[in-house]
């Protein structure tokens, strides 16, 4: 049996031909997604793991009904998907997912999962359903699909520009009035907490007005990267941990909010 380890806030196990990822949360011994995770975020995280092992997936077959393929492509650099690939990405019912060369995959689950309040889980799922409904008119700031897509690569991959110093998020002209080159530098995925706050549900942006009361507010951190840039991010899976200035965190991809029926993904900080 493969052993599980922690990776970007999830549980992973792997050998040369099988990669498996699972949510760290459970209800009655059955894994469930956390408040801002889904198959897309699991898939991105697992493909990042595979990339980190310098394993190249020549072709991959994906269950497109459960994964946002466009976001996956941007976040992982996967160019081509095929209906019949050497590798299969399979979504399991148990908030887990596998990438394997085999067509028949034995689902294995970790044993050290954290308990998720079942009532809160139901409320969160209902909130996402409501928020993602086309009938829901967001009271949040309007960020068009085009604007979201334009910055998605920099957002998901922490791609920065360089113009005497590292710049992130991307900017247009430098102090001399010249166009700054396109983002090419990938920031390190670890960061340091420089400040933090937890907003009450009443103080959270309207984008989060349906979910924030269920989560007892939302937490935001102001972090520094070793490349010299700063950023602000929501925390993910912080139910049982409070940030401290100086603490390290890891940048991970999660759901942010939903607008016009589209779930918007972005980066959050997982506290180490």
């Amino acid at each position: 049996m493969l052993e599980f380890s922690n990776w970007q806030g999830y549980k992973v196990s792997f050998n040369s031909e099988n990669f498996h990822i699972c949510s760290p949360w459970q209800i009655k011994n059955s894994p469930v997604f956390g408040p801002d995770s889904d198959y897309t975020t699991l898939a991105i995280s697992l493909l990042n793991l595979i990339n980190s092992k310098n394993i190249e997936l020549d072709s991959i077959c994906i269950d497109e009904s459960k994964v946002d393929v466009e976001v996956l492509k941007v976040a992982t650099g996967i160019k081509e998907l095929s209906k019949e690939g050497h590798w299969n990405l399979v979504c399991h019912d148990s908030a887990s997912l596998s990438i394997s060369k085999s067509n028949s995959i034995d689902v294995i689950l970790p044993t050290d999962l954290m308990d998720f309040d079942s009532e809160k889980y139901k409320q969160i799922n209902a909130a996402w359903e409501k928020e993602t409904s086309m009938e829901n008119v967001s009271q949040g700031a309007y960020i068009s699909s085009q604007q979201y897509t334009e910055s998605l690569n920099s957002r998901l991959n922490l791609l920065a520009q360089f113009d005497d110093k590292t710049i992130w998020p991307p900017r247009q002209l430098n102090d001399e009035g010249s166009v700054i080159d396109n983002p090419k530098i990938r920031l390190s995925s670890t960061c340091q907490i420089e400040s933090w706050t937890k907003l009450s549900a009443a103080g959270a942006p309207s984008e989060f007005s349906i979910r924030a009361p269920i989560l007892d507010g939302i937490s935001t951190v102001y972090v520094s990267f070793e490349e010299g840039t700063y950023g602000v991010f929501l925390l993910t899976d912080d139910q049982n941990i409070q940030p401290v200035i100086g603490m390290k965190g890891e940048i991970v991809v999660r759901r942010i909010y939903s607008q016009e029926g589209q779930i918007r993904y972005g980066t959050k900080v997982q506290l180490n």
Partner: protein, 391 residues
């Protein structure tokens, strides 16, 4: 170069206002006109600049044309000025520049916001769209969150705790208690302010200004026409303004507002004055940490000493060298976004002319300042006023 005087100033009471935009603006304008000592008629106004975030969006376009139409200024050149919470601070600067340039003799600067006829969700929408919507807001930040990040970082870098912010809140509530125009006219104890409902950790309800309805209006005149209207004008000695990166993460430090520093340096230099010359300052305390930072950025306290300044009560009326927020500030007087900047000028006008309620007069005040900030410091306008034409 033409010198500029304030000859009239008026406002509505801040708070939950029964009137709509047109009624509130007309009330503020009428109060300003009636405060002019003599011979004033609205037909003398050449230009008007009205600050507003157009809260709620009910009259997002041509706001100024609609408002002036309803306040005896129909037909003149008007425009809405928008720089978030600093909108009317910049409207005042634009009015000052219009006279300085010689293009106008009598100009109105004002501001307005109607905030309390919206649902809580729509309020939060409008309150949040002056920050960096694409990167900060999607990281969960509204302005309480942004200023909370600044506060926690400040406590980490310097000798200061949340108790210093509590002192600021208590002081401003004390100052605003007797201000008839104030939104929150109630004194609060240190213990009560310290234990308020947590809005954005470490900021509690008592660290945050209220969302207010309100309008404010000042009338400016060129030196060569001032005598027609008053023998006792208040001189607008200087105007400084600056901008900075919109988002916190693009700034080199989040415990100082560079726009405030730059704008105040410009205003001090133009007036030939220094921080020690200022008798009273209306400071942009949208959150108590904003006042603490402003006392440093405006030069009233050294870097890192704003907490000590607050702890020692140096900004209290008639106790220290400078009275900070004699009106009660945004914390107590209220914060109708677009009206706040010229509302600060209304307070300075009344204080320096000695027409505020006698119990809250800053004694022997000759020089006053207004400090109006947009968002978390992306824009800032600083003005210095004096009883004497050449301070």
């Amino acid at each position: 170069m033409v010198d500029v005087a304030i000859i009239g100033a008026g406002q509505t009471k801040y708070g939950n206002h029964a009137s709509g935009l047109k009624g509130m603006w007309a009330e503020a304008a009428k109060n300003a006109f009636e405060s002019v000592d003599q011979n004033f008629h609205p037909s003398r106004i050449d230009e008007a600049f009205i600050g507003s975030v157009a809260f709620g969006g009910s009259q997002l376009g041509n706001t100024a044309a609609l408002l002036t139409e309803h306040s005896a200024m129909k037909g003149i050149s008007v425009r809405r000025v928008e720089n978030a919470c600093a909108s009317s601070g910049f409207a005042l600067r634009d009015a000052w520049m219009a006279i300085k340039s010689g293009q106008a003799d009598v100009v109105v600067a004002g501001g307005i916001e109607k905030m309390n006829d919206l649902t809580p969700e729509r309020k939060r929408f409008w309150l949040g769209v002056s920050g960096d919507t694409e990167w900060e807001r999607l990281a969960g930040l509204t302005f309480p969150g942004t200023y909370a990040l600044m506060a926690r970082r400040y406590f980490h870098e310097f000798d200061s705790t949340h108790d210093d912010l509590v002192n600021i809140s208590v002081k401003n509530h004390m100052h605003g208690f007797e201000n008839k125009a104030a939104h929150l006219r109630k004194e609060v104890s240190f213990e009560k302010a310290k234990s308020g409902f947590m809005v954005a950790d470490p900021l509690t309800l008592y660290d945050c200004c209220p969302t207010s309805d309100g309008a404010s209006c000042v009338v400016l005149a060129a030196d060569h026409v001032v005598k027609e209207f008053t023998d006792d004008p208040l001189w607008l000695l200087s105007s400084g303004a600056a901008s900075d990166n919109l988002a916190l993460h693009d700034r080199p430090s989040i415990t100082q507002l560079l726009a405030t520093q730059k704008a105040s340096r410009s205003a001090y230099s133009m007036a030939g004055l220094s921080p020690s010359d200022i008798d009273l300052a209306e400071v942009h305390d949208c959150f108590t940490i904003a006042e603490l930072l402003a006392t440093e950025d405006l030069g009233f306290a050294g870097r890192g000493e704003g907490g000590k300044f607050a702890r020692q009560g140096l900004g209290r009326r008639n106790e220290g060298d400078v009275c900070i927020n004699p009106s009660g500030g945004l914390k107590s007087k209220g914060h109708p976004l677009g009206a706040t900047g010229t509302g600060q000028a209304v307070e300075v006008f009344k204080q320096l002319k000695g027409t505020v309620e006698p119990s809250r007069l800053v004694r022997d005040a000759e020089i006053g300042m207004t400090h109006n900030v947009g968002g978390s410091g992306a824009t800032c306008a600083v003005h210095i006023f004096g009883r004497e034409r050449n301070a």
